[in-house]
Symmetry: C2
Subunit: 361 residues, 2 copies
């Protein structure tokens, strides 16, 4: 993996990643000339016991590009600067211009609840230079590179002392609110372990104390033994509709053995994990012969400097569709109670996805 570190004219950091060597004279462009201003702060939610971040500067953005403008396309016209340069890079990572966490941090306001500077990081990950591509459609070694990029980002950002958790994710599709269709994801790095991973850590720790092994490791064994919901079974990685899916087409992707994070993967496992991911995404797009929207989040161990043998790197993919033309809305019971109600059986949805044939050379 070849990397090149750059600084944008407005001070934001950027890293280019490539399968081949990168020319050292590449310049990082930016649609913005002035340095970051504004900034977010955290407020404590006393009733739920969690932080909320307020990035009010995001609303005031004066940058309203025309619809055809693609800020993630390589910059060919200096009069219309984009976020990424022309060059032989495969994946580009840069700091979000309007971060919800990190960036310029003003003094937080004094309020009736505890407040704090919104420390953290929000990065944009451009998956490819090709606006028309999709993550699942990229060549295997390109996807492997991306998994390596997530590892590199986790290692670097996780080493910063204020960062406790690194979450790579992709929101795909207008149905989940995405307006920019160039293939890209995001990385959020938090100053605390956020509520959902915190709960999962607690469950995993309790399970390990009781059983001496990881909860996901044992669950993967059970899914493989059962077999009814498997979508991919490689030597090192698997993908399946979990027996406890909360979304009709929910899929989990994981290495079979527990690795704490992308930063802990070896090449062989990473390669098989890339194949599992590509298989799932091609099945998604093949199901109705159209781009399949989803939210994909990769859960890793906290980056608090402690060992986390209870953690097991894995992705959860949550597509918003129930059927070809009906969305699953999260409403009363899901959002207010956190108790998910499903109309479909995971076994049926798994069967639909199993029947989509995928050929990966």
């Amino acid at each position: 993996m070849h990397t090149l570190e750059l600084a944008k004219p407005d001070g934001r950091r950027m890293t280019l990643y490539a399968r081949r060597p990168l020319p050292p004279d590449l310049q990082a462009p930016s649609p913005f000339a002035d340095p970051l201003a504004g900034g977010a702060h955290l407020r404590w939610h006393p009733v739920r016991g969690e932080w909320v971040t307020y990035a009010a500067h995001r609303q005031g953005r004066t940058f309203l590009p025309p619809p055809e403008y693609n800020p993630l396309a390589p910059m060919t016209d200096p009069a219309n600067p984009t976020e990424v340069p022309v060059g032989p890079w495969d994946v580009a990572v840069f700091e979000n211009r309007f971060p919800s966490l990190g960036g310029f941090l003003p003094e937080p306001p004094e309020l009736i609840v505890t407040t704090a500077p919104a420390q953290g990081r929000c990065e944009v990950v451009v998956f490819t230079q090709d606006r028309e591509a999709s993550l699942g459609g990229l060549p295997l070694d390109h996807i492997e590179l991306l998994l390596g990029v997530w590892g590199d980002r986790t290692r670097r950002i996780g080493a910063e002392k204020e960062i406790q958790y690194v979450l790579p994710f992709e929101n795909r599709g207008a149905e989940v609110g995405v307006t920019l269709h160039h293939p890209h994801g995001q990385i959020y790095a938090y100053p605390v372990v956020p509520p959902v991973p915190a709960r999962m850590q607690q469950v995993a720790l309790e399970h390990r104390a009781k059983h001496g092994r990881g909860v996901l490791e044992m669950h993967i064994e059970a899914e493989r033994r059962d077999g009814a919901r498997m979508l991919y079974e490689g030597r090192h990685a698997v993908a399946f509709v979990p027996v406890c899916a909360r979304y009709p087409y929910e899929v989990w992707i994981a290495p079979i053995r527990p690795f704490e994070s992308f930063a802990h993967l070896d090449d062989t496992v990473r390669a098989d994990l890339a194949r599992a991911l590509k298989t799932v995404l091609l099945k998604f797009d093949g199901l109705w012969q159209r781009p399949f929207p989803y939210l994909m989040a990769w859960y890793q161990a906290p980056t608090d400097g402690q060992p986390h043998p209870e953690s097991h790197l894995h992705a959860q993919l949550w597509p918003p569709y129930r059927t070809r033309d009906r969305l699953k809305y999260l409403a009363g019971t899901e959002l207010a109670a956190g108790f998910f109600a499903m109309d479909a059986l995971p076994e049926e949805k798994a069967r639909e996805l199993q029947q989509v044939e995928v050929n990966i050379p």
Copy 2:
């Protein structure tokens, strides 16, 4: 409050509520003749440590009414039966024909995770006979009656030994997935305290142990002292945009003193709480002069037979709009991490709602 208990032809229970006496000879209709079949089961989610309910019979429903058919309108044509009778009732409550919890409970399947019958209850609450009405537009004494109905349901359902938590909620608007526009809400009664209320109970217990008073009670005091985000301040009830809002137009409504549930309210407090609720809903609809969608959930104490001095009945209303024409999508950070990121400051959104004038006689 006058009540009448009825049984539908398919065995489902129904209760009518009214401000005036009800004739005892009313009959409960049903669009369905055959008794409930199918049924839901629970599966344990080992990684999040929570239950998920599967009501696969819901998908197979053969009942596909024409768009103009309103099952919540009083039944005037026996050839087209609806769910509610003609008569002088104000609020009708009946069991959902396709419940996610409760109803007919088959043996749960044997799977690789723990399963259980989906005990519980799903009720539909018809707020009014008038299809064109809205909850906020109902007369104050009608809203008071509804709050009394929620209390009666909480008392009755909560007394059932398998029920641990009763959640009244309303999903309003196509934006949150509602297809049936007759004003109505739902009540879900759970066999466990679900994840979100469970977390809030834990936070409230810890707060009370430390401070000797309730977390919401003290927060309401602080909001009143501050005043910047108040929308309604009565003698017994308040409404405000909380300083820690997770949705741009989030509003909380609560009695000032802590009451465990609707079942614990006295008449004076209930009347003021109805006024607070009406004020908020009229402000919502007045903001952009159109029906304002929201999810409204009323959090109460668990119904486990224990006293819960840490609990404080209140509503949280979560409208999906960020601005007049932009929705807030829950994506990576909100859903996968549980860490909410806001573009707007609660103080600004409160000001917008404060400026909407509301006249309640």
